[in-house]
Symmetry: C2
Subunit: 317 residues, 2 copies
């Protein structure tokens, strides 16, 4: 089966569509961190994005690309957190109804935020199958438009706007890195980056203990029977069909990292950049700590810091 992937043109359209609602997020760097990690690194701070995560880009692009007629029955999705907030806020901005299926173990701070945007939450078990079946029920009952958290054309196009912005601000990047969970961000990043700068290397980073994308990537076959066990709660999802086909095509490398390195990287970013990021976005930094990236040519690296929604009562130290 052949999937239709968004093109760079779709990403450019998404950028226009979300421009009135999304922030152009800042890019930070730190001389101390460069020294410590052995090369020049720029950080695209999606923790300062609306709802505190890049997910607003895809959610907003999707909700604002639905026809008025369809929108009357609302939108629905399942998400462990940030995508939920993204869709909830985007729906609120278009005064549409949002139904959000969330796992019971989702971070409290994320559940509260979704409620705050006026969405209706339907709780379920944390397995992918429970989420999907609960969502199917909701969609059947309400007629709402389902916005899949990653395996969805408009979500991928929306996430791609982040790399577009990043490369417009920092055209000197030799490598661009993003974490991989469902693959929406990494696939959008790859499409945008390769279109803007064909020589750029696109690298995904994944926890050892949720390495379905890595295993899929090296085997050339989508592997989904992994039980994730990682602190990076945004990366517990399995790579999608559409996202995997894009990643196979356009991503150069996927690297995996240990939980200990993720926690070390998290603390490093908090301490050195003085910003709050969630564990998922520490994963590419962890790959640098583990020396998984070839720095022999002193590449200039761009890392997408994906979000900042952390439950401060459950810190890993």
């Amino acid at each position: 089966m052949k999937f239709i992937a968004p093109s760079y043109k779709d990403i450019a359209l998404a950028a226009e569509r979300i421009a009135p609602y999304a922030h152009i997020t800042p890019v930070l760097s730190s001389e101390n961190l460069n020294k410590l990690l052995g090369t020049k690194i720029f950080f695209k701070c999606e923790n300062f994005q609306k709802v505190g995560a890049f997910k607003f880009r895809g959610g907003c692009n999707s909700v604002f690309n639905i026809s008025e007629e369809h929108l009357q029955k609302g939108v629905a999705t399942h998400s462990s957190g940030n995508h939920a907030q993204a869709v909830a806020l985007a729906a609120k901005l278009r005064t549409a109804k949002a139904y959000i299926v969330m796992p019971e173990n989702a971070p409290k701070v994320k559940i509260e935020a979704v409620k705050g945007y006026g969405a209706e939450i339907i709780f379920c078990d944390s397995t992918i199958s429970a989420r999907e079946s609960t969502l199917a029920d909701v969609v059947k009952k309400t007629g709402a438009t389902e916005i899949h958290p990653y395996d969805y054309f408009d979500v991928i196009a929306g996430q791609g706007t982040c790399a577009k912005e990043f490369l417009e601000n920092n055209p000197e990047l030799d490598i661009i890195m993003a974490p991989i969970g469902g693959g929406g961000l990494l696939s959008g990043t790859a499409i945008a980056s390769k279109a803007i700068k064909p020589t750029i290397k696109v690298i995904g980073a994944e926890p050892d203990q949720a390495d379905d994308a890595y295993q899929s990537f090296i085997s050339g076959k989508r592997i989904t029977d992994i039980t994730p066990n990682t602190i990076a709660d945004g990366l517990r999802t399995t790579v999608g069909k559409l996202t995997f086909s894009i990643i196979q095509d356009q991503v150069d490398q996927i690297v995996t990292v240990s939980e200990a390195s993720i926690i070390e990287a998290l603390k490093l970013i908090w301490t050195r950049l003085k910003i709050i990021i969630e564990p998922s976005c520490a994963v590419p930094v962890a790959a640098l700590l583990e020396q998984k990236i070839d720095l022999s040519n002193k590449p200039i690296i761009g890392i997408i810091l994906t979000g900042g929604n952390v439950d401060l009562d459950k810190l890993p130290w």
Copy 2:
């Protein structure tokens, strides 16, 4: 005894002097926070300043205003942390020797940073008298120029550059708030703010449990026999003689807040602004949580977030 306070001209000179070395720090705001706190608030983010705190302004201005001849014997100071880093880095930038007297209970992260800048650390007890006598010994032995952490002309002028920048960026401010420990920041803020915008209200915020400045302010007499017991480690010092005379003259109000409010405000800023700030700079935000500030005319408030050097292993939750 009459002290000579810096004028606005001294602050403008300081701004020129430190410009090649200090950051112009960003100003952040959050619609959610405005809603929650009941008025429009801008945050001047000195946590993104060099050494992670506003103290670099005063330290840098002082070190760079010492003659080459005097500088050969080095500089010396006592500090619970951020001023120490500031003087150490400024000395390093002028390739001068720095002697730093630090209390043994200073946060580990601050001790390590001072060492990282190549300064010589001399440890002492955490009382003010122990710090002062140890520093006097060091100065006597080495001939170094003492840079007092707050009761020092060039330090106050340097700290004043923060409010200057803030009001140049946000001339609409009706109130400007800063925490008060030794009073260097608050006095410099008052001089700069009143010179630029005479109608502005300057408010200091202090922990209940380290309220020497508040008591001094309302009694009109400098009170120093307070034993501070606050999480806001930057505010455990006693208000200075010079700084108190400026504060008496030019500050409109000092408010005090509970430890519980400081912790709540700290968490609020971390969660909503997604930035790391240290407990001291949560104190003005705590005053808003405690409704200690008159908001009846919906004033636009500027708060100086003083620093971001936190020991992540010792968080108060």
